[in-house]
């Protein structure tokens, strides 16, 4: 397992990061292998968002390295990003376009069939809003559209920053079901959340930052 993990998963080795003059991430190491989900927990401001953005390659760590399938992410970032889906605090949706149009664009960039978009949005309980401009959706409905983008991406690694924000209990169950399916198919995930993360399948490891 140890070795195959090196080759197939995501690994961070003693990563350090500063924000301003705060040393937020201090020598953190982690590993995620297929079928596993890492749940990042910890109080507000501890650095969960910072860590997820480092793993995604949006922030370069001051020190340490992030490896994907055994190679440094910086070596071929495009290949890494092609296999990763990231959800941040923002939803990355255009207020003037409908959920359908928004996701059609992202799935075109990811090289996924356009046909799947409507079905996935439906699975997220958005049948009634497919054609409305995103600006009129409620906060929870917007979050669901953003989550549908991740589910559509076909990426092996999901990086989700507080995916449950603004979701009702039904929405949370939905996301966990999608996560379970992803893990069961050999996917990986890193999820920052204040709530427990309990998909039916796949193994969740909780990591408390402090």
């Amino acid at each position: 397992m140890q070795d195959s993990g090196r080759q197939t998963g995501l690994e961070a080795r003693s990563v350090h990061a500063w924000r301003g003059d705060r040393h937020v991430i201090r020598g953190l190491s982690l590993r995620v292998t297929p079928g596993h989900c890492l749940h990042l927990a910890g109080p507000n401001g501890v650095g969960k968002t910072t860590l997820i953005r480092i793993l995604a390659g949006l922030i370069r760590p001051e020190d340490g390295s992030v490896l994907w399938r055994g190679e440094a992410v910086g070596h071929d970032p495009d290949a890494f990003h092609a296999d990763t889906a990231f959800l941040g605090h923002d939803n990355a949706l255009k207020a003037d376009l409908s959920p359908l149009e928004n996701l059609a664009f992202w799935s075109a960039l990811a090289g996924r069939p356009a046909a799947a978009v409507a079905a996935t949005l439906g699975a997220f309980g958005l049948q009634a809003c497919l054609g409305l401009p995103v600006r009129v959706l409620s906060a929870g409905q917007k979050r669901r559209v953003a989550l549908a983008r991740v589910a559509l991406s076909g990426a092996s690694l999901w990086l989700l920053d507080e995916p449950f924000t603004n979701l009702d209990t039904g929405g949370i169950r939905l996301v966990e079901a999608q996560l379970a399916q992803h893990l069961a198919a050999g996917g990986m995930a890193v999820v920052a959340a204040h709530q427990p993360v309990t998909p039916d399948q796949g193994e969740v490891r909780r990591m408390e930052l402090s």
Binding site: D78, A92, L93, G111
Partner: protein
């Protein structure tokens, strides 16, 4: 993993999305043009009658108005994507960022630069530019607005982390596009005087080629900094 889409398909997807967004609010897509028309109207009003008479003012007014109109629109080239998180997703899309940014800039030019070129004959005629010079005036604006979109795109990308970037974008862009302005106005001026404008037009073309080949690099680097 799925088959990655080809570079052309990706580029066209970006281009098509930005155009669609613009047409979703078409009344805003026409604003640079309206702005151009208004500045071109205001100027003669603000000039003293003797100055307004001069055809020599026409090329200058037209060019400065076009430059300002397209500057105004520049700010939004990347800012909207930055604010709603789309830019992060583009950076993480796994496609070359410089390539994607070319298509974003092209879309921006299609929306804000091209219409300026298309209405310029009307404005020029109203400023007493002879019909024989209209083709050169349009050509100079065609090349010039292209330079402006690419150079300005780099400036817009650089100011992403900054609130109230608007004026800063202009301040960074203006010195860089000064040469384009000089050659463009000179070309228009020569044409109005009935002479050959080949020299300045060639230089404008050179500036365009230069900015198309270098700006995407700068834009990509700046965008990566912007999302950090």
């Amino acid at each position: 993993m799925t088959a990655r889409p080809g570079l052309w398909r990706v580029g066209m997807a970006v281009y098509a999305r930005d155009l669609r967004l613009a047409f979703r609010r078409w009344e805003q897509a026409v604003q640079p043009v309206v702005f151009l028309l208004m500045v071109a109207t205001l100027f003669p009003l603000a000039l003293s009658p003797e100055a307004a008479q001069l055809r020599g003012v026409a090329a200058g007014v037209l060019w400065v108005a076009a430059l300002l109109a397209s500057l105004l629109a520049l700010e939004f080239l990347f800012r909207a994507d930055h604010e709603d998180g789309s830019l992060e997703q583009l950076v993480l899309s796994g496609h070359p960022l410089g390539w994607l940014s070319i298509f974003k800039v092209l879309a921006h030019w299609t929306i804000s630069g091209l219409p300026l070129v298309l209405v310029s004959p009307v404005v020029a005629t109203s400023l007493a530019v002879p019909a024989s010079a209209l083709a050169v005036v349009m050509l100079s604006l065609l090349l010039g607005t292209g330079v402006l979109s690419f150079v300005g795109g780099a400036a817009a990308a650089l100011t992403l982390g900054v609130k109230r970037g608007g004026v800063l974008v202009s301040v960074l862009t203006l010195p860089l596009v000064m040469p384009a302005l000089i050659f463009g106005a000179q070309a228009a001026d020569l044409a109005i005087m009935g002479e050959s404008a080949r020299g300045p037009l060639l230089l404008l073309l050179a500036l365009l080629v230069l900015s198309v080949s270098l700006a995407p690099l700068a834009i990509a680097a700046a965008l990566r900094i912007g999302v950090e």
